[in-house]
């Protein structure tokens, strides 16, 4: 299993009801089901990923995150997960609001655009960073809303969402000394656990 998924796996209590936004091939949900008696659903739009989910016996729903989570009741899941999709959705702020409304807790992972390599690339070449890790050019990238850890935390603060846990890891999902010491400069991927009791009180339209 992908290393960030291993970490998320640890953060999800056994027996939880989980909604996985952009669930990919269903790896996380299948593993949570088999090892932690977790139930729930994955939302996905990629046909091959959906097929892979069905093969694994994962409950997969073809649904576009950009259309919101209006079909889910408030507080209807223990945990709403979204891995490596925040930067690819049309309205990251609205999806965050929706996640906080639907789930009691949210786990979100995304690449850190404030990592020193991105900064160096931009500073030295004056062009948008392209790497093995982020292989797209600016005009064809699905990642239309890159942010830094600072940016994300500012958004959480603005929405009065509480950051319960934060892990800054490198591309191999190792939580080394760098990520701990100076996450926004040395962490490549952020894994956040947030909750917002305040937001759960009212419906957020998207």
């Amino acid at each position: 299993m992908r290393a960030d998924l291993e970490i998320i796996h640890e953060w999800i209590p056994a027996g939880s009801r989980v909604l996985d936004l952009g669930c990919g091939s269903g790896e996380l949900l299948a593993s949570l089901r088999d090892r932690k008696q977790v139930t729930g659903y994955g939302l996905e739009i990629d046909a091959d990923n959906i097929a892979a989910c069905i093969d694994k016996g994962v409950n997969v729903i073809e649904q576009d995150l950009d259309k919101g989570l209006g079909n889910f009741a408030s507080d209807s899941f223990d945990v709403v997960v979204m891995t490596q999709a925040l930067q690819a959705v049309e309205y990251p702020d609205r999806i965050l609001d929706e996640m906080l409304r639907v789930g009691r807790q949210c786990i979100i992972t995304f690449p850190n655009f404030g990592h020193w390599r991105c900064r160096w690339y931009l500073a030295s070449k004056g062009r948008m960073p392209v790497s093995d890790f982020m292989p797209y050019t600016w005009y064809n990238t699905p990642n239309i809303h890159f942010c830094t850890f600072e940016d994300f935390e500012a958004l959480c603060h603005e929405r009065r969402a509480k950051v319960l846990d934060r892990l800054a890891v490198d591309r191999l999902h190792r939580n080394g000394w760098g990520g701990r010491l100076w996450p926004n400069l040395l962490g490549e991927i952020g894994i956040y656990r947030v909750s917002s009791p305040a937001l759960q009180e009212h419906q957020v339209a998207i």
Binding site: R17, Y41, I54, D55, N59, I61, N71, A73
Partner: protein, 379 residues
């Protein structure tokens, strides 16, 4: 036998008849003292009878879902694209049962059958049936075949409604429900189309209040119109445009009302004509009423999630992007209710240009998803 059937065909099949003499109580308050159901089976029932799959047909469907009745048949059964060795409903694994519903006109007891009490066809006197009535009659067929629990009940459109009803009425008898291009109930627009179809039949002078058989006639014009309007709703604007556009049959306009000028007119008339020769008008009325009445959530104040609370089956729902008769939004209503009721469900929204008819057409993503789901069913 000289004809060679395709390798993935179930080949030659023979319909069978099951007779039931125990009265069947119906939702309308009446009951049928005895009735017959015609059905076909494909594949082999395993020794533990755990591999049974029931196919439920749509409005004008019947028991002949796959294979051929004779080597000379031009076309196989209506869902041959999805039933056979290696196909989504793989007859190497499953024992498939496909019947003509009660009230039908393809061999099961229906309005055109002779009422044994009076020695004449039932005609308009045949009771109005509901989807739940059908499910009860199908359960008796399952008993007869020694199938206590279906591995899956599968259907598209009105067939999907039966599959859904199965999970509600007999939660212990269905492990999986595959509900395709369906809806939890008809919309006002759906009912309106059905009403136009019914009025076409009912106002045909040859209908004779439903007892046209006694007079040796058929309400051909009414049936034709009913089918024509129905057919329009099965296709998408795009697929009609692509198939016919504004093509004319001849090069010029005739400036009259009688000639068949546009290709689409010709096609619809042909469809209507062909249909009116093979389908019973009273059965058509009955099928459209069953559609209109279907609303399992009504018993729970319209709360579909509460209706599905006791359901035990796992679900796979599929809808098609250009289907406007039962649009993807209608399937999503069922999916959302299933999720709210914490049931296992997979949902695929397939991009297909063919409108409602897409469930009969082997679009690769559709047959692939269908196969993926069926293959994971334990037998």
């Amino acid at each position: 036998m000289s004809t060679v059937f395709p390798e993935d065909s179930v080949g030659l099949v023979t319909p069978q008849l099951a007779r039931f003499d125990e009265p069947l109580a119906l939702a309308c308050g009446r009951s049928l003292a005895s009735y017959e159901l015609i059905y076909e089976t494909y594949g082999t029932l395993n020794s533990t009878a755990t591999n049974g799959v029931l196919i439920c047909h749509a409005l004008s469907g019947h028991h002949h879902a796959a294979g051929y009745h004779s080597p000379d048949d031009r076309k196989p059964g209506w869902w041959d694209s999805c039933i056979g060795p290696g196909k989504p409903i793989d007859t190497n694994r499953f024992f498939v049962v496909s019947l003509n519903n009660l009230g039908g006109c393809n061999g099961s007891t229906g309005p055109s059958s002779v009422n044994p009490v009076i020695g004449k066809p039932y005609g308009a006197d045949f009771p109005v049936l509901t989807v739940e009535d059908w499910v009860h009659s199908q359960a008796r067929l399952a008993d007869r075949l020694g199938i206590e629990q279906w591995a899956a009940v599968v259907g598209g459109s009105l067939g999907g409604m039966q599959a859904l009803q199965w999970t509600i009425t007999y939660p212990d008898r269905v492990r999986h429900c595959v509900d395709i291009a369906s809806a939890p109930k008809l919309s006002a627009q759906n009912i309106a189309f059905n009403e136009v179809a019914r009025q076409a039949i009912l106002t045909d002078p040859e209908f004779h209040g439903g007892s046209f058989q006694d007079r040796g006639v058929i309400p051909k014009r009414g049936l034709m119109l009913a089918r024509m309007v129905g057919h329009i709703t099965y296709l998408s604007d795009d697929s009609m445009g692509e198939k016919f556009g504004r093509e004319l049959k001849s090069d010029q306009l005739n400036y009259d009302f009688h000639s068949v000028e546009f290709q689409v007119e010709s096609y619809l008339r042909y469809q209507g004509e062909e249909f009116s020769g093979r389908f019973d008008a009273n059965t058509y009325l009955l099928m459209t009423k069953a559609l209109d009445y279907f609303d399992p959530a009504a018993a729970h104040g319209g709360d579909l999630a509460a209706t599905l609370a006791q359901v035990k089956a796992d679900f796979c729902l599929m809808s098609f992007s250009t289907d406007w008769r039962f649009s993807p939004a209608r399937s999503r209503e069922i999916v959302n209710a299933l999720m709210a009721a914490r049931k296992n469900v997979c949902y695929l929204e397939i991009d297909a240009p063919h409108g409602h008819d897409a469930f009969l057409i082997p679009t690769p993503r559709y047959t692939q998803g269908f196969s993926n789901y069926m293959n994971r069913i334990a037998i």
